[in-house]
């Protein structure tokens, strides 16, 4: 029982803080989930696991989690050429998908908060707008 309160209460408290403070993030993640089913799932799959040697994973992807700017750039303008994700080489093509900056922010927030992925900074449309083609 004690253990129950020790774990349950703090997690409820934590969750509510999280939800109230980040209502906007929650909304963005929700919209991002729809974008993901529309535009990404056929390659990166429903649990972000990708397809071995063909489509890199997004779940626990060191690329996504460490190279935030490059990831946004890839989704915005397309991504082609050799990259390494979790130690595996990929050399494929992700065509530009024609998404608006808000939509890219939403789908980034979704993939950064799904399948065990975590990120402390919400992606905003302004951040996406500021990223240029290189």
């Amino acid at each position: 029982m004690k253990l129950f309160f020790l774990t349950y209460i703090p997690s409820v408290v934590f969750l509510s803080i999280f939800i109230f403070q980040d209502k906007e993030l929650e909304e963005s993640i929700k919209r991002g989930a729809d974008i993901y089913t529309d535009f990404c799932v056929n390659c990166h799959m429903s649990k972000g696991e990708g397809v071995t040697n063909t489509f890199p994973p997004l779940a626990n992807s060191d690329y996504l989690l460490k190279k935030r700017e490059e990831s946004i750039r890839g989704i915005k303008y397309g991504q082609q050429g050799p990259i390494v994700v979790n130690g595996i080489n990929y050399n494929g093509t992700m065509a530009p998908m024609g998404l608006a900056d808000e939509e890219i922010a939403d789908v980034m927030n979704y993939i950064l908060h799904s399948w065990g992925n975590k990120s402390d900074k919400t992606v905003t449309p302004e951040e996406v707008a500021a990223i240029s083609k290189e």
């Binding site: 529309d38 535009f39 799959m45 429903s46 082609q80 093509t93 065509a95 530009p96």
Partner: protein, 372 residues
């Protein structure tokens, strides 16, 4: 004992017979192939469709919206191409020549376009002529409505049959519960028109009130393969299933191909779409893939250049990145073979008038298969 063995073998036999298809999943990878490949056009992004002009030059659509003319070993960009709505799977898609191109010069193209009341885009069919590396006389023959910002399933393959009818496909546009089974709506259909875009009087739904009169068949998900069987003259189609359940169908007038009422596939999330794989009033595919190969492009081999492949089907796999050869017998697939392993996402495959087979691969370009 004897009796029970007999019974057992009988049961096994009937089980086998009642199976819709017995060659699931089995694909051979030959150690030796009767051809080598030559990359004749390089540095293409997503070459979606190809057409072969009488002067031996080629037209290639790039999904991004460029039309490329490849002549005498050089690429040039054709101007005056209609504005395309590049979003998700949409863009500049298929291209086909009129069967009498030599005399009338008509080129047919499909793409996703904006325009109209709603936000977003939908599949459009145009015809135009090529003059001095520019498109002229451009006419919109069909524009699907309503527009939507969904990124999926534009379909878009174009083919002519022996009577001169033009067929093209439009996918369900990501609205599977609304579009494919409703003949008053666009999407999830194969369409049939005359070459000038007018609607044939004997189309199946011309006298049905409220129906889109260009519809020839319905209940499709996302057809990215549409060709004429050169032996029978019938129209063959393939379409992407959800997760599993890609299909090859023979298209018949007014028929319902079942999506999403019946499918051999499941949702990407792993949940089921329907329990049914068969239903009265819907057509069965002649072949289905589990798992999905994500088929795009298709051709029958008829030329003498590849004698062992006569009347075989070649189909591109986007997902597993190879070219699939299917041997048919009585409209059943009896053998599958994996060619060009790991070549890249195969978007289109065609047999050119010169008899050679050309394969369009994303991120690479156009390969020619040269017989040994």
């Amino acid at each position: 004992m004897k009796y029970s063995i007999l019974l057992l073998s009988f049961t096994l036999l009937t089980m086998n017979l009642s199976c819709a298809q017995s060659t699931d999943n089995k694909i051979d990878t030959p150690t030796e192939v009767p051809f080598s490949t030559e990359l004749i056009i390089d540095e293409l992004q997503i070459p979606w469709g190809m057409a072969f002009l009488p002067d031996d030059s080629m037209l290639i659509t790039e999904k991004s919206g460029e039309l490329i003319h490849f002549k005498d070993g050089k690429k040039s960009t054709v101007s005056n191409v209609p504005a395309v709505y590049v979003r998700g799977q949409g863009g500049l898609l298929d291209i086909a020549l009129h069967p009498d191109y030599k005399n009338n010069g008509w080129i047919y193209m499909s793409f996703s376009s904006e325009g109209g009341a709603e936000k977003g885009g939908n599949t459009t069919l145009v015809r135009a002529k090529l003059d001095n590396n520019s498109l002229t006389n451009s006419e919109v023959l069909y524009k699907a409505t309503p527009n939507t910002t969904k990124g999926q399933h534009f379909g878009s393959r174009i083919v002519f049959d022996n009577e001169g009818y033009l067929y093209f496909s439009i996918g369900d546009r990501g609205d599977r519960d609304i579009n494919p089974q409703d003949i008053s709506r666009d999407g999830g259909k194969i369409y049939r028109l005359h070459d000038d875009g007018s609607i044939p009087e004997d189309n199946p739904f011309v006298s049905q009130e409220g129906a889109k009169k260009a519809i020839f068949s319905y209940g499709h998900r996302n057809p990215q393969g549409l060709i004429k069987n050169p032996v029978t003259g019938t129209i063959w189609e393939h379409e992407h299933g959800p997760q599993g359940g890609d299909e090859i169908n023979i298209i018949e007038k007014g028929k319902n191909y079942g999506w999403p009422l019946v499918t051999y596939g499941i949702n990407y999330s792993g949940t089921s779409i329907t329990d049914s794989t068969e239903m009265k009033g819907t057509e069965q595919p002649i072949y289905y893939w589990v798992p999905s190969i994500a088929p795009s492009g298709m051709t029958f081999v008829t030329s003498d250049k590849y004698p062992d492949w006569k009347n075989n089907l070649l189909i591109g796999s986007l997902k597993f990145q190879y070219l699939e050869r299917l041997v048919l017998k009585d409209n059943k697939v009896v053998k599958r073979e994996k060619l060009m392993t790991d070549i890249g996402r195969v978007r289109d495959v065609r047999q050119a008038p010169n008899g050679y087979i050309y394969v369009a691969v994303e991120g690479k370009g156009i390969y020619k298969l040269i017989p040994n």
